[in-house]
């Protein structure tokens, strides 16, 4: 009897028309609202999309450098500063720079503190007291942040006689990086090259800023250059004129 009853019931099937009518009815009543996994899946997917978007967005916000600070004495280093005034990365352009960077832990530090640490580090202090020249270039895209950083750094270095601060636009800096120099040296290199086309990037890379400056004044001043530093005052003025 079991099978017989089962088979008999098996004959009863919901008609397609009945199913279709029911579907239409449900659809009308619910405006196409669907129950079950589909909805959870969609919610989950959109939640993940939001999280991913936020993560990518904040990563981008934080890790996009907006301003670079290029410091050259002989150690040539560049600090990338994000929009929150934090150092997100740094690069050294010669061995001395590498040594300097290895001795400091400035990652994610506020830029003014980092610059202070660099200026006050033993190497830099001794170089400066030997009469070396330090240039600090603030490289940005003409925004308020770079102006603020520049004035801040100018204030920091006001006590140093041989320090020069100036501003540069980021487009110029790309060329410097292509040549493998930090911006301060690249700028000096361009000036030198105008006077002496034979000069090469490799020669520049390991010269100190003082040597470059002396060479510059020697070339431009027709041999009056030398160990004394007549160029300093002029240098500061010139730099000032180049500010944008």
């Amino acid at each position: 009897m079991n099978d017989k009853i089962k088979e008999a019931f098996e004959q009863i099937q919901a008609e397609d028309e009945l199913k279709q009518n029911t579907k239409n009815f449900i659809f009308d009543k619910t405006n196409g609202y669907k129950k079950g996994k589909a909805i959870n899946y969609h919610r989950l997917a959109s939640a993940f999309a939001c999280i991913a978007f936020l993560a990518v967005g904040s990563h981008w916000l934080y890790f996009t450098p907006t301003v670079e600070i290029s410091i050259d004495i002989n150690p040539s280093v560049e600090l990338d500063v994000n929009r929150f005034n934090r150092i997100i990365s740094f690069e050294s352009y010669n061995d001395d720079g590498q040594k300097l960077m290895d001795s400091l832990d400035i990652k994610f530090m506020d830029y003014s503190e980092a610059v202070n640490q660099i200026i006050e580090s033993e190497d830099v202090v001794s170089l400066l007291s030997d009469g070396e020249v330090m240039t600090i270039a603030v490289i940005g895209t003409d925004n308020a942040q770079s102006q603020a950083i520049l004035s801040n750094i100018q204030a920091c270095t006001a006590g140093e006689r041989n320090a020069y601060c100036y501003y540069a636009h980021s487009e110029e800096v790309e060329k410097a990086h292509e040549a493998g120099l930090s911006y301060g040296k690249y700028k000096a290199y361009l000036e030198l090259q105008a006077l002496d086309p034979a000069i090469t990037v490799d020669e520049i890379r390991n010269m100190t800023m003082r040597e470059i400056r002396d060479l510059l004044s020697a070339l431009s001043g027709g041999g009056n250059g030398g160990a004394n530093r007549p160029g300093n005052g002029n240098g500061r003025q010139n730099r000032g004129n180049r500010k944008r």
Binding site: M1, I5, L18, K19, T22, K23, I26
Partner: protein
Amino acid sequence: MAIEQYSNMVRRLCMIHLKNYADTEDIFQTVFLKYVLSSVSFDSKEHEKAWFIRVTINACKDFLKSFFRSHVTSLDEILEMPAEMPEDYREVLEAVLSLPQKNREVIYLHYYEGYTAPEISRILGKRVNTIYTLLTRSRQMLREKLGGDGYE
């Protein structure tokens, strides 16, 4: 979608309880709308199936109890079965449908859906012993109607 999955079962439960096709359509709408709108979260497929059985049976009973049904008698109270159904199946179904309603339910749940008496008691909210009694009694009645030969 749930309609594809459960429509045959709901259709059979309707057949057990109702007399005509128009009512079946009403029940379909009631049951599946309830499913879509309900916030029940099902632990398993079995849970969901049992939910459908209970809701369908309740919907059918509510429908039969309703004022309209109890005061108006439909003209087409003829059981609509597929015309091409073989004779012996028709005979069995007619026998089942001639039983009282509560016997029909347990017959369907036991013989077709394969539920045991304790499971049926849980779905219908009745005592297990009641289900055993109903099953035994239904079996006897079917045997009488179908002549007893070959049925146990």
